[in-house]
């Protein structure tokens, strides 16, 4: 069997995605700096920063669509684009998030390739195969699978989390709640779990309980900040755990992180999803416990550092973010895989890795 080349397809998607994330993320950052707010009614009038913030936010919201489209394209070429796009929309609508988009990209691409091989039609209908039959069938098949096979456990999971959070509201120690909120807010990087927590803490905020939302804001920033701190720590320790590409990605990841935008960190996180997510969970747990313990309450639902004006005890809030990031950074030194050494040593050639060579023709 031909290898699935999971990594290559994800990398192709990310390769297309990097300029998209940078542009959308920076739109939002610039908009936020100048006090932009998300526009809900365009006819009611808006400022330039509002427009930037909204466009950037919409762009990042469509990230599942973008990644799904281009992974499917990488796998199935042109016929992959349409189902990849539609299935990405399904992920966005259902709140399956970026990781859902990755999944539909792979599934959409593979199903198209499979259908390409097996579908046989009479000659007069051959033109219909790439135009309609492939994209339609692939979208239906993967769409049903996503809604009824992948979707059900996700719904069960999100319901379970709501129940858990509700049950924690009364009585349980504030530290435990902080740990759980921190972990749940951060570990799927803005995916379905994060969204459930957001709905929960937002409803608490409207009841005047502002600490949980401050915890969520802070925990969402752990990944970019932890990665940044981890980079500097690795330099101090002379450990080489970041590749040049990752260092490049880190710059925009950090800037976006200041605005509580996690998406900029994806190019780094996806190189090592499980290990980095362990760091994220641990950092966010500590961070969550501290923000709850210090009772940093927010009256603003989102915005990263731009929410600071609405957070009580802002200095303690920043401190807990830094401590959480430090936990992330230290763990990362042990967990993150060392990338291949960088390029500029001319005469020390590495032995040729024969497994990596593919010959055809």
């Amino acid at each position: 069997m031909k290898s699935l080349e999971l990594r290559k397809h994800a990398m192709t998607g990310i390769s297309y995605m990097i300029p998209y994330v940078c542009a959308a993320g920076m739109l939002m950052v610039i908009g936020n700096i100048f006090g932009g707010h998300t526009i809900t009614d365009y006819r009611a009038g808006f400022s330039v920063p509002d427009a930037l913030t909204t466009l950037g936010g919409d762009g990042l919201g469509l990230l599942p669509v973008f990644i799904s489209t281009f992974i499917a394209y990488s796998i199935a070429d042109r016929p992959g684009l349409a189902p990849g796009f539609l299935l990405g929309l399904l992920c966005k609508a259902n709140g399956f998030g970026f990781l859902g988009g990755l999944l539909t990209g792979y599934l959409g691409g593979w199903v198209v390739n499979y259908l390409k091989r097996v579908i046989r039609v009479p000659a007069f209908a051959e033109g219909l195969v790439p135009q309609m039959i492939l994209p339609l069938l692939a979208t239906i098949l993967v769409g049903i699978f996503m809604e009824y096979v992948v979707g059900l456990p996700i719904i069960a999971l999100t319901d379970g989390i709501s129940t858990l959070l509700m049950s924690l509201q009364g009585g349980t120690s504030i530290l435990v709640l902080g740990v759980i909120l921190g972990i749940l807010s951060s570990i799927d990087y803005g995916g379905p779990i994060n969204k459930v927590v957001f709905v929960f803490v937002l409803s608490l905020m409207t009841q005047g309980i502002g600490a949980p939302i401050a915890t969520l804001i802070s925990a969402s920033m752990i990944a970019p900040f932890g990665l940044t701190m981890g980079y500097f720590l690795s330099r101090v320790l002379h450990k080489n755990i970041y590749s040049t590409q990752e260092v490049n990605a880190l710059k925009s990841a950090f800037l976006m992180g200041c605005c509580q935008i996690t998406e900029g960190s994806y190019p780094i996180i996806l190189n090592d999803l499980v290990r980095i997510t362990i760091c994220t969970g641990a950092g966010a747990a500590v961070d969550g416990a501290l923000t709850m313990y210090w009772d940093c309450a927010s009256t603003v639902p989102a915005g990263g550092f731009f929410a600071l004006a609405g957070i009580s005890h802002p200095e303690l809030w920043v401190t807990s973010l830094l401590i959480g990031s430090a936990v992330f950074a230290v763990l990362l030194q042990f967990l993150k895989r060392t990338p291949l050494a960088d390029s500029d040593e001319p005469e020390t050639e590495k032995e040729l890795n024969l497994d990596s060579i593919k010959i055809s023709g």
Partner: protein
């Protein structure tokens, strides 16, 4: 030997071009003619001409991602490696290419 090929990395801003330079250097050292196209984030540069491809004995692809225009090499012997191999082991890779071309 005449070689053509493509380099393309994930970010499409650095390794794509380093791989190209390393391969060109290694090929010239070994006395081969080489033409390499880059497919970076900016798009295709140093695009291969039909003539270059037609004359080539061997195609080398130093790519981490899906590339465009692979069909231009139909019928040619094609060797695909990750960019890091071209960057870190360019001379050894060239030797390997010579072996493969002889087969």
């Amino acid at each position: 030997m005449k070689i053509v090929g493509i380099t393309a990395c994930v970010a499409g801003i650095a390794h794509t071009y380093i791989a190209r330079e390393k391969l060109i250097k290694a090929a010239e050292k070994a006395g081969h003619a080489i033409h390499l196209e880059t497919q970076g984030t900016i798009g295709t540069e140093y695009e291969l001409t039909g003539e270059q491809i037609a004359e080539a004995d061997l195609v080398v692809l130093a790519v981490d991602i899906k590339i465009k225009g692979k069909e231009r090499f139909a019928g040619k012997k094609m060797i695909e490696v990750p960019t890091e191999v071209a960057i870190h082991s360019s001379n050894a890779l060239l030797k390997k290419l010579e072996e493969i071309a002889k087969k």
